[in-house]
Symmetry: C2
Subunit: 309 residues, 2 copies
């Protein structure tokens, strides 16, 4: 019952040998979502042993090179590996143009189909939904460049049956779905077994929000409120707040503020400028505002466990 994110790249525009440009894989119950795809993403997926062929959904926040230049290589590798399963790509309408142009010019033959889903970027938009998960995008603030944040949220689960009590009361299978939904059970002799004797609370829904690239943007707080994990960019330190504002990026302190205001459980900061070799100051600065902060460095895995309170 995994819900975990693996960081493939944590740097901003200029990659370093230690930190590749932005890319992450979120594993939700063995469904794998690739979020952004900077140059070298496919190499990082091999390095960190992620099952490349099981990526069925790729979400791209915006059309800056450090978030997309690994995509054409990944698609070509899928083709060489004989991929057959559909691939869904979510991003700005230009992304479809970019990929189609490249595949056509290079005469790349795909045995799989790509479905392009346009992120319009003006409102909250549902990108993907099934019985157990919903994925939405919401607008960030990155100057003239439309940029989307992403919110992954499990859906409410039904209550969990207590298997020992089911067999004790010999409850027929046909009644079980109702009991999961909260029904009591009435025995043949009329005795009513209250639901809380037969079930326990469902695990809490888990959630992840991904916010990069963006200037400090308090209006995202209600959207990401209470998430278990928040990835927020922290390109700069507080000493460069002006530069952050000018380039529509955030400081580590601002990332901490957003996390604190949104009352998230844990903050991951990333998208570091290549000028910083050591990231201790970023971590300290964010922790001063929001103590439960971690550096989202390449290769790190952050999990959210199932929790029934």
């Amino acid at each position: 019952m995994k819900f975990e994110v693996t960081i493939l790249g944590s740097n901003s525009a200029l990659p370093t040998t230690k930190r590749f440009p932005t890319a992450q894989v979120l594993n939700v119950l063995e469904r794998f979502f690739l979020i952004d795809c900077g140059e070298g993403t496919q190499i990082q997926m091999k390095r960190f042993r992620l099952p490349m062929s099981r990526i069925n959904h790729v979400l791209i926040s915006h059309m800056h090179g450090d978030h997309i230049f690994g995509l054409i290589g990944l698609l070509s590798t899928f083709a060489l590996q004989g991929r057959k399963s559909d691939l869904h790509i979510y991003g700005h309408s230009k992304l479809e143009k970019l990929i189609r142009f490249q595949l056509e010019l290079l005469e790349t033959k795909l045995d799989y189909e790509i479905f392009y889903h346009t992120i319009f970027g003006t409102n909250i938009q549902t990108l993907f939904e099934d019985d157990s998960l919903i994925v939405q995008s919401f607008p960030l603030k990155h100057g003239a460049m439309p940029c989307a944040g992403f919110l992954f949220k499990e859906k409410e689960r039904l209550r969990t049956l207590k298997s020992d009590m089911l067999s004790f009361y010999n409850i027929p299978i046909k009644n079980r779905h109702g009991i999961k939904q909260g029904d009591d059970f009435i025995c043949d002799d009329g005795e009513v077994i209250p639901n809380d004797k037969l079930t326990k609370d469902a695990p809490k829904v888990r959630s992840y929000a991904f916010c990069t690239d963006t200037a400090y943007l308090p209006k995202i707080v209600p959207i990401i409120a209470g998430v278990d994990l928040l990835y927020h960019e922290a390109t700069f330190l507080k000493t460069e707040e002006k530069r952050a504002k000018k380039t529509y990026h955030s400081t580590a302190e601002q990332a901490g503020k957003i996390a604190a205001e949104a009352k998230v459980k844990k903050l991951l900061i990333g998208h570091f400028s290549a000028r910083f070799d050591d990231l201790k100051e970023h971590l300290e600065e964010a922790k001063n505002i929001f103590p439960n902060t971690a550096l989202a460095e390449d290769g790190k895995i952050f999990s959210v466990e199932l929790d029934r309170d």
Copy 2:
């Protein structure tokens, strides 16, 4: 007086964590030529401490992704670094289309100019020439895909002056160029000092040939005859000769044969299939035919020293 090639990527289409796709930097007398530019090239240049900003010439052998997908990232990085100096790109006419489309769609602002030079691919073609170096392309055989090999050759140098003899005979500066070209010197008293007393032989010209991707193609032998270093692809082992032929690649043995027939000084083999973790067999197979063979693995540097015989 360097003449050395640094291997940035030695793998074929699918990269591994150890071996990136094809890219090399040739340093000829502190002029830096980038040859092919697979995904991750800019990261490898940082890893192996090559001066990225001094790349003024990029040569692309053919339009397969594993030889080009790093280029747009490199051009963008140049832009971010504030590059001003011209960049010359040599390749198939589609390469210009690909780059122009991407730069335009992504609205990448360059403060430097790109000059595109089309490789026509049917004949030997001079791509670059100055006082001391000539760079030519020649056609390889890679199925329907036009593919160019590259030959880098220093030009003949003038003879080297013996400085002690120049001062001994007190030879005026105005005479020195003629003496370098082979003139004798006539002293004021009429004594003739023969040229070989004043000069020694110039160092021999150095040369490098780059041949990938290609099927076994003996007709390149006269073109690359006698080069100091030959890089030749060896995607497969002899046991897969049929597959090599079908996919227009070479085996390690065939690379060895070309080296032997062309009487080169040293053979470097590369463009290995990702299926091979260990490359001992490739090396052995090529060495059986041409003993002075080395594996062109990522990060290795191969130099040609100045030699006066």
